[in-house]
Symmetry: none
Amino acid sequence: MRVFARQGFFKSAVSQIAREAGVADGTIYLYFKNKEDILVQFFTYKTKLVFEGFKDAVRAGSGAEEQLRNLIRRHLTEFRDDPDMARLYQAEMRRHSRLAEQEIRAMSQMYQDLVAEIIEKGQQEGTIRQDLNPSLVKRMIIGTLDEIISTWLHSGGGHDLVALTDHLVELFLQGIGQGQPGPAA
Amino acid sequence: MRVFARQGFFKSAVSQIAREAGVADGTIYLYFKNKEDILVQFFTYKTKLVFEGFKDAVRAGSGAEEQLRNLIRRHLTEFRDDPDMARLYQAEMRRHSRLAEQEIRAMSQMYQDLVAEIIEKGQQEGTIRQDLNPSLVKRMIIGTLDEIISTWLHSGGGHDLVALTDHLVELFLQGIGQGQPGPAA
Amino acid sequence: MRVFARQGFFKSAVSQIAREAGVADGTIYLYFKNKEDILVQFFTYKTKLVFEGFKDAVRAGSGAEEQLRNLIRRHLTEFRDDPDMARLYQAEMRRHSRLAEQEIRAMSQMYQDLVAEIIEKGQQEGTIRQDLNPSLVKRMIIGTLDEIISTWLHSGGGHDLVALTDHLVELFLQGIGQGQPGPAA
Amino acid sequence: MRVFARQGFFKSAVSQIAREAGVADGTIYLYFKNKEDILVQFFTYKTKLVFEGFKDAVRAGSGAEEQLRNLIRRHLTEFRDDPDMARLYQAEMRRHSRLAEQEIRAMSQMYQDLVAEIIEKGQQEGTIRQDLNPSLVKRMIIGTLDEIISTWLHSGGGHDLVALTDHLVELFLQGIGQGQPGPAA
DNA sequence: GATGAATGAGGATTCATTCAT
DNA sequence: AATGAATGAATCCTCATTCAT
């Protein structure tokens, strides 16, 4: 992963990966079908781990807002603590959609379920609006976080990623408008 | 671009591009320094065009909300009408950051300037909150749109991308919270 | 020639030569059959010139020793004054023997005739030994001069090439032996 | 080497070399950095071998004349027995001076040292003149031999190269002059 | 006669993958 | 199970040469 993350999938040689792993080139093929499979297996494995964490974080919150905050904090923390993975998700995930398609769909669905869970809870509490499209909200959250992580990676990891959590929660909840909530245009 | 968009940069052979363009392989190299330069020149050229359109769209709006709506509609329209470009932006832009770095920065800055312009106007009108970080708002908007376009591309362009405009404007302005506007979190 | 001399035949592009000559690429082919022909025509032309000079130099000498000295001085002068030609002769002549074969044979023969002329004269004068193989002597002279020019070129043209003339004449005439001339081993 | 010798460096394709060697194209690159490295490694390896032989030959002689004769005979024998190497030295050595520079210098120096050794010995014996420039003598010997080998190669290896040894030794020792030895010119 | 854009064959090099050990 | 030498298909790029203008 280190190799893929730093050089990109296509510029990485299998022999580099083998060297980094301390095994012979041929050994790779005892555990992976081919080069692409290395990436796919990683995504399958890592995604599961990460999402368990996301779920735990959400479940650990009592109110919708706290859940959202937990999810976002966890999301940012996870990527901050593993920049190689961050880079892989940003750069390689989209390209290898053909092969990793199933993984992506599953992951996307999991995220959406989490968001739906939060929204539902918030609607029950009365803290979240009724007229929301969970899928759209999910895409807003995930897209925003992705973009923020991307910027952070490009900046060389300068600022504190996790510190943005509260600003983001606030932005998502309140929006940018100064107006009375209610029926919009 | 068609070739790059459908196969990805690394899986595309220069001779494929030449064939698609109806010229000989060598002819490519009369106009492009190397394979990567084809992509870079395209980004340079296309980005300029697209951003002129974005600017016009924003300037055509009278109020901040209308401007935001115009920007988003234009953004979605542009990518819907040129799915090849959309795919390229989604899949290749991030990876070739080294070479296209300047372009990306310039583009990112332009977008941010547009958003800042809208925010400022809205703040003067009293329709946009005062306490906003323009860079964060920009990342939210661009990230959300990117994710939405990504989903749309992956779905095979099924639903109407541009029809999401109003929902997005509403979501950005109002947020997902059901609360009294004002200092939150 | 400048281009060939500095980069070598195979690393020189026809378009470079055209640029240096201030004409279009295609124009080259109005005057030369192909790339190799540029070299061949040059050798044909230049060799003739140079050998006329060699002949003149030899004829201008009255005794055999003076003739030899004149030949060598002229030879070294010619190459010192045109290092590009020198480099071409050293580096490209041997390789293109197939095509330039005729030229090389002619040139070699001319040189041999000059040397034979000198030897004959010296033998008549009694200053040159009788039992000499003119072809061998020619190869000694031309080989030595070539090697000396080669060394000079490699050294960056540091020392004065022509100043070696007298030492060489002396070396050729006297040999390195300290002995009584006559029947050797 | 066979391939390089027969076609020249630039006209030789790596795949030809691989075929001749009975391996796949890629295998070449497990042992050589690139095409040029094939030549350089050969020179490095072969030159060492050959010069060991030269040294042995010189050391095997007791008097200066015998040493000179041994050196020349060995030199001619070596090249006669390996015409491919001979062709390579004649045609490619000079051109690849950039890369093989170090080798050439080292070789040139070794040859010069050998010649200096012979001269010194002869001067002690009284068989070699005192006023000699070893570097010039070296260039005469090596240049003459090169030229003789060149002629031999061009003639298709017709006559017996090694048979020239005695004539050459005699020529070098006595010179072409019919005069009293001593200070000339 | 001169041009130079276009051509496309050719060749060096890389690297994922295999398989005998 | 592990190795790593060998493979050879794949591909970018160069450049001599042509020919319509």
